[in-house]
């Protein structure tokens, strides 16, 4: 029998149970999602392309297979969407840029292949910052996505459409990418869960690169369990990704539901409380979250880690150098086809010397070694802020300002450790606040254990954005 919740609020696990019991069809779930997209996307601009024919064909196949006793796993029959830097065979993939408007790949990204093989249902392609870097920009082929909690506010980026779509209940799972925080920042601003997995755990093949050694692919979801179920499908070795990890995979859901007894969590409060512009509401919400985690059984110790600006400088120099190398030809020959933000930020990569890059790479080894040996040698996880403030207004961005560091996420792109962003409450203005939980390499199950225990106790996920709907979906 159908649950009392509206279909868009069904978790992936609950929808899966209903699909398998025959009380729900993937076609019904997909039609509901498509109606909701039709109603809300004109406000949110989360999708840059909706693929209803593909979605309904996927859903019909999923229903037929389940009825025939074929079960492809936890995402079978579940709708999803992809940030528009994931290549999709026969479906336009623009990177939200004038430079790629006519590009239709002839092959799928590895993640898309895995989602297809898992019986999932593609709803469409999602807004991003141009090439996952610029933004929020109004001079691109599509407008920037808007925050479902307040349409005048920024979603964060660059997985902007992914976060907006999940927060608004257009889809339960959307793939994003994270080079300096592009999953965790939007997750924090939009009140969703966002996982940057361990570097190498999810294939990057077929996802347009921004920075080869910092790029991570991962999901944005409505709950921690939804993220764990997604990892069951998308993680794994890919010989066509040179950085892909070739090792055994854990059961990502195995620790969900356990309490936190016996876990040691480090809390480098200094890392964000002294940052420029940090919001008191963010600090208070993370302090309260650590108290909640202690009440759930974890031992919390205040610790110190290297200064954020060291990580930030290291990561930004590597990112700029790698991004410029990728875009050098087009930046020189088609400068005005790039949006203003993307161009202004990316062209600076032309000025980086070989020595600058090597010094950053030497520092990267030092920071990653220190963090993994001295901190995660003692602690099961570390907690710090994702974004330093609630989401700013879209009209607060200055056209000529340098790239801001209003999110403290790049340190764990530098180290490659997994990091999970989850909501820790709401500001007085009704905007989400968040924290990130960082773990040992390939220990996502501990992050899911901590995140799910906190999520269940804090109950922030019960709160939904109040969107004015022209139709009842």
């Amino acid at each position: 029998m159908l649950a009392a919740k509206p279909l868009y609020e069904l978790s992936i696990a609950d929808a899966g149970k209903l699909l398998r019991s025959g009380d729900l069809t993937s076609v019904a779930l997909t039609e509901h999602a498509l109606q909701r997209i039709t109603a809300l996307n004109p406000l949110l601009h989360a999708f840059v392309l909706v693929t209803p024919e593909r979605a309904l064909a996927d859903a019909e196949r999923a229903d037929h297979e389940l009825a025939s006793g074929i079960d492809r796993g936890p995402l079978h029959g579940i709708p999803y969407a992809l940030k528009d830097i994931y290549e999709t065979a026969g479906i336009r993939t623009t990177c939200h840029s004038k430079l790629r408007m006519g590009y239709v790949p002839d092959a799928d990204a590895t993640v898309e292949l895995k989602l297809k093989a898992g019986g999932s249902v593609l709803l469409g392609k999602l807004a991003t910052h141009e090439f996952a870097f610029g933004g929020p920009s109004f001079d691109l082929p599509f407008p920037p996505a808007r925050n479902p909690w307040n349409l005048d506010h920024f979603t964060g980026g660059s997985s902007s459409g992914s976060a907006a779509a999940v927060a608004a209940g257009l889809v339960r799972m959307a793939m994003g990418s994270d080079t300096g925080g592009s999953i965790r920042g939007p997750a924090s601003y939009c009140g969703t869960v966002g996982l940057k997995p361990t570097y190498g755990l999810v294939s990057r093949r077929g996802v347009y690169p921004l920075s080869y050694t910092l790029d991570h692919c991962g999901p944005l979801t409505a709950t921690v369990e939804d993220a764990a179920l997604t990892m069951q499908v998308i993680a794994g070795h890919d010989p066509r990704d040179p950085a892909s990890h070739d090792g055994p995979l854990p059961d990502f859901t195995a620790s969900i539901g356990q309490d936190l007894t016996g876990l040691r969590i480090g809390y480098p409060r200094h890392f964000f409380v002294n940052a420029d512009g940090v919001s008191t509401e963010v600090v208070n919400s993370i302090d309260a979250a650590t108290q909640q985690l202690a009440a759930l059984g974890a031992a919390i110790d205040e610790i110190r880690i290297p200064d954020f600006e060291l990580f930030n400088s290291c990561g930004r120099i590597i990112l700029l150098a790698e991004a410029y190398a990728i875009h050098e030809h087009d930046l020189k020959t088609r400068p005005l086809d790039y949006g203003r933000y993307t161009y202004q930020r990316m062209i600076v990569g032309a000025t980086i010397s070989a020595a600058d890059l090597v010094q950053a790479l030497r520092l990267r080894r030092e920071l990653a070694t220190q963090f993994n040996k001295e901190i995660l040698g003692k602690y099961d996880a570390v907690i710090t802020a994702s974004a330093l403030t609630p989401s700013p207004r879209l009209d607060e961005f200055s056209a000529d300002a340098p790239l801001k560091t209003a999110v403290q996420t790049i340190p764990f792109n530098v180290t490659g450790n997994p990091a999970l962003s989850i909501a820790t409450g709401f500001s007085s203005s009704g905007l989400p606040l968040g924290m990130q939980i960082i773990g040992r390499a390939f220990d996502e199950p501990t992050l899911f254990r901590i995140g799910a225990a906190y999520e269940r106790a804090a109950e922030w996920i019960a709160r939904r954005p109040r969107l004015e709907l022209p139709i009842a979906v």
Binding site: S313, C314, K332, D356
Partner: protein, 69 residues
């Protein structure tokens, strides 16, 4: 930290961009100058005293190359 005046910073930026054959569209120049100033700050931070044997994070690994051959 050594602070460069704006004129010197812009001259240095112009020289580096010219070496690369890049002509920045005039209406985008202010943002590029701001981004370059930020880069210079970061560049100073990553230049710390190190032992010569302190190797970079992406040191060449033949194992990795051979894995995908």
């Amino acid at each position: 930290m050594y602070i460069q005046d704006n004129d010197a910073l812009e001259r240095e930026l112009d020289a580096l961009l010219a070496r690369e054959g890049i002509s920045v569209p005039p209406d985008r120049r202010a943002g590029v100058v701001a981004g370059y100033a930020e880069f210079k700050r970061m560049s100073a931070l990553v230049r710390q005293p190190r032992m010569a044997a302190s190797e970079p994070s992406n040191i060449y690994s033949l194992d990795v190359i051979l894995r995908s051959v």
